[in-house]
Point group: C2
Chain length 745, copies 2
């Protein structure tokens, strides 16, 4: 009885919260166009499950069609033809995957062709853990919400025939093939293949599901698209079409299958549908569902989801700023908390890395590590605000090494997709350790990092071109588009990180070895152009050479997704050396400023997102950092569907905004320091983790000389004036109050 009382009280409390608290400042539509590739669906912080409207196929009415162009998100704000709710979705990525298990309500006669059963919609509403719309064609109100590993949908129908469709044939993923079977009149279970993310045909994995409906259907069955057949089945009118299986309810499998449930309903009648998922088995999907939801209680699940978001988002409370700025901020924090996400089931089981084995996690196992992106700031944000999660993520990465022999680079549900370059797990692990998150198997972690940093030959999964790197200290251009400079620059960062850890562990030789390696970046510096320039195998620079080539995803020798300008200041671990290389402080400052002034800064791409903070390494030039972060925030981060500069990159872009708006940024991911910039709010309160930071509260206050005061005049920490513009993680997390005094200039 006691726990029941608590549940009801907490329910009432949380119902009270809808539209209250900081979750009210989240606008899940931000980033849903302009290639932000976020989605407005229901998801919990770092939850396995997400439920999002799917509107990117089946109609000419849509502006974007997943089948007619490269497309990597289940939802586009511009589109208008809804074909169901996709379960399990990636947020802010540049390659298509997941976005499957499409759940669609229709009314009237049954139709199982997605290019015919889709609907327009109106009255879209989205808040953390909740999405709703009204299907204009059918007069159906849809609502969805989620727990960590399960979803629940509530559909309110007009009078007449109501249909619920589960389409396993379509989705964002380019993999196909599914199987399912009926467990009872109101329950099915099954499996769908997912994968092939980012040009990886072998990166394939299954998702298992259980679906339950809270009402006995008057009719139900399957469909399957039949092959085109010749004479053998000339009689079969379903050849090449979707055949309805009206009398068959055992196992069904195929490339394009689905299940339907039909009802006769009165006006306003609701039907609720739950889906539980697992990457291990249907039994685990069922256990997840039964553990995380008790019966069909849409409102309770919604309230719990909202409450959970409120709890996580309110670790930062801001006052001041405009309404839009608060929305931009909390939505960015919300986006930073989508990935990495849970992989393990409630019983702890998860699919082992690059294996068909099932293991049991101690704590949570995370997946979706887009590390080339997230090593730069997302893990630093998690370390500061959610250190428990970050620690479990580090443990997950070490676990991946233990299981597969390699740390992750771009891991997706137990598959290494090897997307982008570098050795980005190293800076993540080292950064966490440096900041005191040390409760993981350091010995194995070091072994793992050392392995990728030193294993010779093409079999080095993470650094397949290591031989040249070891021999020459840099990577010559061996193929036109081998991204050699980008690769080497990432290895320098990783090696620097490893040297820091080695030094801290007393491994002097290793420390020296890796530190020395990390400084070879200068080899790429072309005095003639004043930027990094690819080197040919004979040791000479590539000619002809255009340092601007590579803008707008144009292919360019030596650099990946960017021009030489986007990379020529990407040496966060040796900014003093970088300054020297660029000709000293003045020249450095001028050149770096020119990057912005002449349009060589790409706000959508990771290599240069730390650039604005580099000015603060030059005494007297810190105002440029402060000016730029505020200008970039104003230009590219808006409370609007196009409010992200481009792919959110599993929260990396959003995290940039979160830090920049709070007034400090971890511009060197291998070092436990942050560079200050001007906060945009009047007051920012960080509630730090009890376990890792003693539950301290850090208050950041901003005192402005006037409305347009954007520049830091001085910073006072706990009553003492702070010298300089970079603060250590330890000092920040132990501070009680930081006051920024901003002036107009």
């Amino acid at each position: 009885m006691r726990s029941g009382t608590i549940t009801i009280l907490s329910l009432l409390f949380s119902l009270h919260l809808f539209g209250q608290g900081v979750t009210a400042h989240v606008n899940p539509f931000i980033g849903t166009t302009n290639y932000g590739t976020t989605h407005p669906g229901a998801v919990l912080p770092n939850g396995m499950m997400s439920v999002t409207p799917f509107n990117v196929m089946g109609s000419e009415k849509n502006r974007y069609d997943k089948d007619k162009q490269w497309w990597s998100t289940p939802y586009s704000y511009e589109n208008s033809y809804f074909t169901g709710f996709a379960h399990l979705n990636l947020s802010g990525v540049g390659c298509p995957d997941l976005g499957s298990l499409l759940l669609m309500p229709t009314s009237g006669e049954l139709n199982v062709n997605y290019d015919e059963y889709g609907s327009g919609y109106s009255d879209e509403q989205a808040s953390p853990g909740y999405y709703s719309n009204r299907l204009t064609r059918y007069g159906i109100l849809t609502e969805v919400t989620a727990t960590e590993r399960t979803s629940i949908a509530r559909f309110t129908f007009p009078e007449g025939q109501a249909n619920i469709l589960l389409n396993l044939g379509e989705g964002l993923t380019n993999e196909s093939g599914a199987w399912m079977r009926r467990i009872s009149d109101t329950e099915i279970e099954g499996m769908k293949l997912l994968g092939t993310f980012c040009y990886n045909p072998q990166a394939v994995f299954p998702v298992y599901f259980v679906m339950r409906i809270n009402r006995q259907p008057s009719a139900s069955g399957y469909w399957k698209r039949q092959r085109e057949m010749g004479v053998e089945a000339a009689w079969d009118s379903t050849a090449g079409k979707r055949k309805l299986y009206t009398r068959y309810g055992r196992d069904i499998a195929g490339d394009d299958i689905g299940a339907y449930f039909s009802y006769q309903v009165v006006e306003g009648e609701t039907i609720e549908v739950q889906i539980g998922v697992s990457f291990v088995s249907t039994a685990n999907a069922r256990e997840n569902l039964e553990s995380e939801q008790q019966g069909f209680r849409f409102d309770e699940v919604r309230a719990a989801a909202s409450e959970r978001w409120e709890r996580e988002l309110s670790r930062v409370r801001v006052t001041g700023g405009t309404d839009d700025q608060r929305v931009v901020f909390y939505t960015a924090l919300y986006h930073a908390l989508i990935h990495p996400n849970l992989l393990n089931d409630v019983n702890g089981e998860y699919p082992a890395m690059e294996s068909d084995k099932v293991l049991t996690a101690n704590g949570n196992r995370y997946t979706v590590f887009s590390l080339w992106d997230t090593y730069r700031n997302v893990h630093q944000l998690l370390t500061l605000l959610y250190p428990g999660k970050q620690l479990e993520m580090v443990r997950s990465m070490v676990g991946m090494y233990r299981e597969s022999g390699w740390l992750p680079k771009w891991e997706l549900y137990g598959r290494e997709t090897l997307t982008m370059e570098g050795d980005p797990a190293i800076p993540v692990i080292v950064d966490s350790w440096m900041k005191g998150l040390r409760d993981f198997d350091l010995e194995t972690a070091y072994e793992a990092m050392y392995k990728s940093a030193t294993t010779e030959g093409k079999h080095n999964l993470l650094r397949p071109d290591i031989d040249d790197y070891l021999k020459l200290g840099y990577l010559p251009l061996r193929e036109k588009y081998d991204n050699s400079v980008s690769h080497a620059l990432e290895y320098y960062i990783a090696d620097n990180a490893l040297s820091k850890l080695a030094a801290a562990l007393g491994k002097k030789e290793d420390a020296a070895l890796f530190r020395n390696r990390s400084l070879n970046y200068t080899r790429y510096y072309s005095p003639q152009y004043g930027v990094f320039r690819p080197i040919l195998p004979d040791g000479t620079f590539l000619s002809p050479f255009n340092p601007k080539q590579g803008e707008n995803f144009e292919e360019v020798p030596g650099f990946h997704e960017g021009s030489s300008w986007n990379y020529s200041f990407m040496v966060p671990h040796d900014v003093p050396g970088l300054i020297r290389m660029h000709g000293g402080k003045r020249r450095f400052t001028e050149k770096l400023q020119a990057v912005f002034d002449e349009g060589h800064y790409d706000p959508t791409n990771e290599p240069n997102i730390g650039y604005p903070f580099l000015f603060s390494y030059v005494k007297g030039e810190e105002w440029r950092t402060q000016k730029l972060t505020q200008e970039l925030l104003e230009s590219y981060f808006k409370n609007a569907p196009d409010g992200l500069p481009g792919n959110d990159d599993t929260g990396t872009m959003s995290t940039w905004a979160v830090f920049a708006m709070m007034g400090f940024y971890p511009d060197n991911p291998t070092e436990p320091f942050y560079t200050f910039t001007s906060p945009v709010f009047d007051k920012i309160t960080l509630q730090l983790d009890p376990l890792h930071y003693g539950g301290r509260q850090l208050e950041i206050e901003v005192v402005r000389t006037g409305k347009d005061a954007r520049y830091i005049d001085k910073i006072v920490i706990d009553g003492k004036r702070f010298g300089g513009y970079r603060i250590s993680h330890e000092q920040l997390t132990k501070a009680g109050k930081i006051v920024f005094y901003l002036k107009e200039r």
Copy 2:
């Protein structure tokens, strides 16, 4: 130790049997061309499993291609491009189904495209329970054998790379879709959808399987044909092709999937592959496999299969006749023992009729009831020689009623395909009961038969046109090709059967009702044409009318697969009335003889296969029966691939030959009587069942006046001259010795 000794002894004994005993007289290639649609694969008597070479797809070299014409058998003797062994096959049917789980060995580089990996073959050998060939392209010796529910293949490879492929994407069935998963390096399990037999898109059922290989592969994986994809997967070179899954071993599903296992082998190395199947679950498939095979022991399984056939076939022992006649006879008996076949697993479980439920059988549950064919003679043969099986088949039919509400018509793995017409379960059940097989639930059986005979309306599944029949006593032609006369003629036979049973049970009213109905056949008699003629709804005969129309499967109003001539004597239950109708004995005999003389007799179709025996109802004309049966046997039943007149119809044609060659035929399937004709052998010994017939032995001896003595002079039974040409089942099964004295004329 004891049982081990017994096993070895029985092994030695059975090895000794290869090529010995009566199984040596079976030529499984008979019927494998000329549309006989039998196959030479390994199967046990009425076994669930069968394993047959599959050679009807993938090459222009084949004369027949399942995808280029209507095709209903996995194997054609004329073809030459082998693409694996099909597991689970129908024998002697006219519609495609099953013939899937294609197991193919190859050598050299892995190739998973069936139109590329197929091979020519030589050295085909087939004997009951065994098939072998040599793949000329690969130099692989293949051998397959079976238990009731499992198979084992032995492949002997040349040196180099050996591959074993399991193709779930292709097969004879027009259904598609499969799922499988890896259990270990040497075991997979899965499911494939089957069905759509004979224009029945809803007649769908799953088969579950487990496959084990006796050697660890050096590489293994799956393949799946990928969809055609547009821009979304322009990078994916496997789009529209079969993609190899080299690193993924969990669940896979799709329309066209397969598994491969590769090995490095030395010259002459063998690999054995077992497959267990179930129509209930993969767990049952595994239990079947583990129960029916202990380890990989190909030779033992082969020996046991041969021994089992020897045991069953040797219930009849013949001497005399030519070698070819003995081969024709034993092969016909062999073909009569393929279907119906086991449906239940070793644990008794089976899929309930028209349901997703699983039930447990008491005794064996049978499936594949092609009753429009088999009610005429197959069940009579089983009743005589294998009464235990026949009883279980009757129980199976009654069980189908209990589960689905209707007796079967053309049942296939728990699905009523409603192929052909009539109410053929009734004569089967009544015939068995009349012959003393009464240990079944008669009350339910009667209820079931009464239901289909009396339920009004279109919802009468077995007699959807019953309303006209009840009202008018016949079926008028309501649609051009509604087969109305054929329908009614079948109903008359069924109603007559039911009347017999009703009379025996003292249900006088029912008996009279159904008997009266059964005599309405005369209504179709057209004095003008002297044959049955369709009647229009206004009661007049159809005009114009051509009694020959319908030959060679030409469509014809009123009749199904045959001309009026093929049907106009199909009144086995009232031959005296039929004789009167046709104008008396003389006119009847002349007209019946004209059917044969003028080419209106179709030896491939059931309605008229009893015709030769009708002469024996006219005193003095019995010689025509004797002449015809021997001529028909000589013309249409040969020891050659084209040795069947057409579709074997799950053994019906073969059974015709078995009875005709033994010298008696059950021409009225509703009556426990046989009509004598001249046996073709010198001596025929029937070993009757101990339980049902006291284990009697019936010896039939033939005394000929000379080599060409083909006509019955007299028949002496146990020393007494037999009067007439029809003998009751009771007298036959109680006789000790029947001597046929044959004269030349």
